[in-house]
Amino acid sequence: MRLSPDALIFWQHGFLKLNGTIVFTWALMLVLVVGSKLITRKLRSDLKPARWQCLLEIVVAGIKTQIEDVGLHDPRKYMGFIGTLFLFVALASLCTIIPGYEPPTASLSTTAALALCVLVAAPFFGIQEQGLSDYLKSYAEPTAMMLPFNIISELSRTLALAVRLFGNMMSGTMIIAILLTITPFIFPIAMSVLGLLTGMVQAYIFSILAAVYIAAATREDKQEAESTQDIKT
């Protein structure tokens, strides 16, 4: 019984390994890129767009609304990053229907990589919005004594992001594998459905948490509170 798709090796030469995680990740990337390219070849803005264009518009508009609700007032800047996180994790868990497929997010390498992207993105957007000195000063708020705790909280929430997604995906696949050896008829299907549901929820959670960390780093919530206070006074 495999703990993760890292152990599924398709080809090996010396220390170069082509394992299941790499193959499935690249397959997902191919589907996303080629699919979007094909759908957006002839974009129409009249009243009767093509069906697949409607689907993409629903998805993109939904992500834009969610980012705005979190408090980021210019969602176009962040939609590329947060939308990609959501689409990748959602497609990775949706494709578990396909037999022989294992979600690459069931490997700690993939989820650690995604969490590291969020770890780098939050200061990147923060410095882009506030400037380097203002952003670094925010680590010493509310007092300078909080500096180590703020840094530790940055690292621990990155770790939590990685382990949360990995644990959810890995437990889904492992439960199905264990049930297949015990009662192979109805229960694995029920657990597959549950795995699909938790996969979608975890994709949403991952992207929303990334958006919340970016909003905290760019201080959009504080700026909004200050501007409403100015209007009141």
Binding site: D69, R164, G167, N168, V201, I205, I208, L209, V212
Partner: protein
């Protein structure tokens, strides 16, 4: 009892205890969270989307504690370094 048996016994018992005790807290916490979310939904139905979204985010954070315990339990059963170290001479590496 040699060290191999001791490591096996300790790993199995700890794996079971980890996941058993580790799921009590998150389950109680999630139950409380959903109960309070339902009562606030009943009080303010037009804030339903905000309440639902915040509920899901909060549930995911609570759930991750149970996930940590599950990961530790799986490591003890399937990727146990002490067990592989102690079984390596028997496998003949």
């Amino acid at each position: 009892m040699d060290s191999m048996t001791l490591i096996a016994i300790a790993s199995i018992i700890t794996a079971g205890l980890t996941i058993a005790l580790g799921s009590i807290g998150p389950a109680l916490g999630e139950g409380r969270a959903v109960a309070i979310a339902l009562s606030s939904l009943a009080q303010q139905p037009d804030a339903a989307t905000t309440i639902t979204r915040t509920l899901f985010v909060g549930l995911a954070m609570i759930e991750s504690i149970a996930i940590y315990c599950f990961v530790v339990s799986m490591i003890l059963i399937f990727a146990n370094p002490f067990w592989s170290h102690v079984i390596a001479p028997a496998v003949g590496k």
